[in-house]
Amino acid sequence: MIEGDQVLMSGNEAIARGAIEAGIRFCASYPGTPSTEITEYIMKTSDRRDIHAEWSTNEKVALEASTAASWAGLPALCPMKSLGLNVAADFLLNVNLSGTGDGGLVIVVCDDPRGHSSSNEQDSRFYSKAAHLPLLEPSSCQQAKDIMPYAFEISKRYEIPVIVRSTTRLSHTRAIVELGEVPDIEIESAHDIPSNLYNVPRPDFKHKQLLAKLDDIKEDFEKSRFNKLDSSDKRVRILASGITNRYSEEAMRKLDLEDIEILSITTTFPLPGKSVLKALDSATHVLFAEEGQPFTEENVAVLFAKRKNRTVPELHGKIDGVIERYGELNVDKVAHALSRITGCEFRPVPPEFEERAQKSRELLLDRPPTFCPGCGHRAVYWAIKKAKQRFDKPVVVTGDIGCYSMGIFYDSSLDTMQAMGSSIGTASGLGQLSRFGFDQKVIAVAGDSTFFHACLPGLVNARNKNADLTFIVIDNNTTAMTGFQPSPSSHIQRGETFSVDIENIARAALPDYIDIGIASDIPATTDLIHENLTRDGLKIIIVKAVCRLAEREDSKAERPKVYIDADSCIGENCKLCMTQFGCLAIEWNEEEDHSEIENHLCVRCGDCIVVCPHDAIRRG
């Protein structure tokens, strides 16, 4: 792929390509949908292009590592998902003051409105305001690429991080992108890091300096070619940012409205106030089209509030509610908002169609996410369930983030699920409540990648405070949820990285008991869990599991087939393997009244064999 080529690229790939065109030398990241493909794209060519690319232990470490590269003069990229920025925020709100040296550092944060693959729908733009850092919001795949060199330019000039915000809809959209040139830079060697990389003793001075930088950046943004803030005599103006530009254009066409001008703001913080006010001058109505919270809307409202003795247009958006404040935007929502503002009618489909659609809806069944056939997590949850049944007291199970989060949907195996590392953190609280009469035993469940990402402080706390809990670490050797990136413990490491053993680290916390289990040996795992429930203190069980999607494709063929013996299956009266164990490879044969295994889905793990109380499931 060379300069001038027109290629189909996703927004994430375009961001990565833009970073490569900007000449990055370093990229550190933790995987998280919808941001993962940025780093993956860079890894694909990193060796050839002499870029160091890594999956770091978590987003904070990734940001620290990339900042270090920038200090040493190497342009660095740090992509992450929305929630990742929460993890990195502690460092971010310090290094904004200390500065990033002259290498250049761009943080790409991918928000997920509607939470397609996230547990919240946070608007990460508030971090740029909180940290006083410049923010760019590209509106198309092409712009996502083009904006990256610009972002690095600003970062280098002001020696602070620049934040580029994408959303799922841009990150995962593919469109034609015209490539630019990849600079043919000799590998520069790193230089010494600058002096005074700390904020004490006078963080207030550093703060003052940062605010002065921000004033200058605002002036730069007044002239930025990435904004489209033309004057207009149209009555209604839409101020769009990010992907909502496209929705606005289409909504306007749909409603056949003429008296509307779409303005586009890409440099959303610090807001170039003069050009924004000028572009909105003489409008009677302004509609803000933005994903997330009314971020730009509030910033513009403040601009108007400060402007004395002038008429202010009516401001519409998420504050007055013409666009709802939750969920993801689309063409229809913008069209509805326009129809409420202008009074023109909008009906996406005729009313009789609505009625028919409503009736058809009754036929649909949900498809909740579930474990793949043969997934080790299902086996572990089955073992937990059996151990709970055998145990005489109630048990609460705290969950974490990863494929095993789907335990929420699997017979309510998990009682809680919040942030990375929260399984052991909340368990360390619950495990100390017995003196207040909390008499439930606590199990915390996390995976290998999450263990390293955020469980270690919780684990240390649990030991230090002597919390009573059982911590189950399901180690399937990969970060499965986001597409099988190696975790620190993975046997197969990228390049020269070194595998870090979970058991050794867990032992170092000096738990009262530590055991190693194997997910596919369900009876033994059940015994282990049950035994630990009867004990007091800090207990750790590391369960080795297999991710069937990450497993080599031919491993299935190496195992003997698993089948259901039609004569032994008692049929309708049981169905336990389907209704309770629920492996998707087991189907009901209506005519013959027994379960059967769908061969092309079954991975021959054999987990279901012990589940059948009638020994109908067999190997051979």
Binding site: Q6, L8, H116, S117, S140, Q142, R169, L170, H172, T173, R174, A175, I176, I243, R246, Y247, E249, E250, K254, N330, V331, D332, A335, P348, V349, P350, F353, R356, A357, K359, S360, R361, L363, L364, L365, D366, R367, P368, P369, T370, F371, C372, C403, M406, M481, L549, K575, M578, T579, G582, L584, I586, E587, W588, H600
Partner: protein
Amino acid sequence: MKQHQNILIAGVGGQGNLVCGKTLAQAAVEEGYKPVVGQIFGASRRGGTVQTHVRISNSNLGPLIPRGDVHIILGLEPMETLRAAIEYAGPETIALMSETPVQTVDSLAGRKLYPRLDELRGSLSALARRVYSVDPTETLEDLGTYRVQNSYMLGALCGIQTARLSKESIKTGLIEIVGRSQPNTEAFEEGLKAGRCAVSE
């Protein structure tokens, strides 16, 4: 000629939904359009609903087809075809549906009944202008792999002759995206035949 053509590919995780989308987009590029592909999926790899929106036009459209504006639904799974129609179909919609169902957790367990094909087809007819359905089972069993259903359906799409893109460019697109493997080409050709014979309801 219409301003643009919106094709919605409806299916479940693992059916090669995005591959279909990429193929059509590649075909569109061959013909000089500026396609845009958007995707809606949750935990897609793990059996959830997946929808890929392909918008073929000369301008840079948004990634998602607005409600009521879909021209063709390419349904890789019967119930998902209906789901897509409920959400996106309008007066101009033509639906092409594969008759091979993918059961859900509830239907497998017998807690809920997977809808009958004729019910699904009936509902679809009430929402779409024309409905075609094809049954790839025999071909896929002959070929010994379900992974090429998407190639079959792309063939069928060419067969019913409603796509703006030519058969040749879709074929070229397919080869570009999945390579020139025998099961894929064969599935495509079989789908093409099935599509040509399919009559709309």
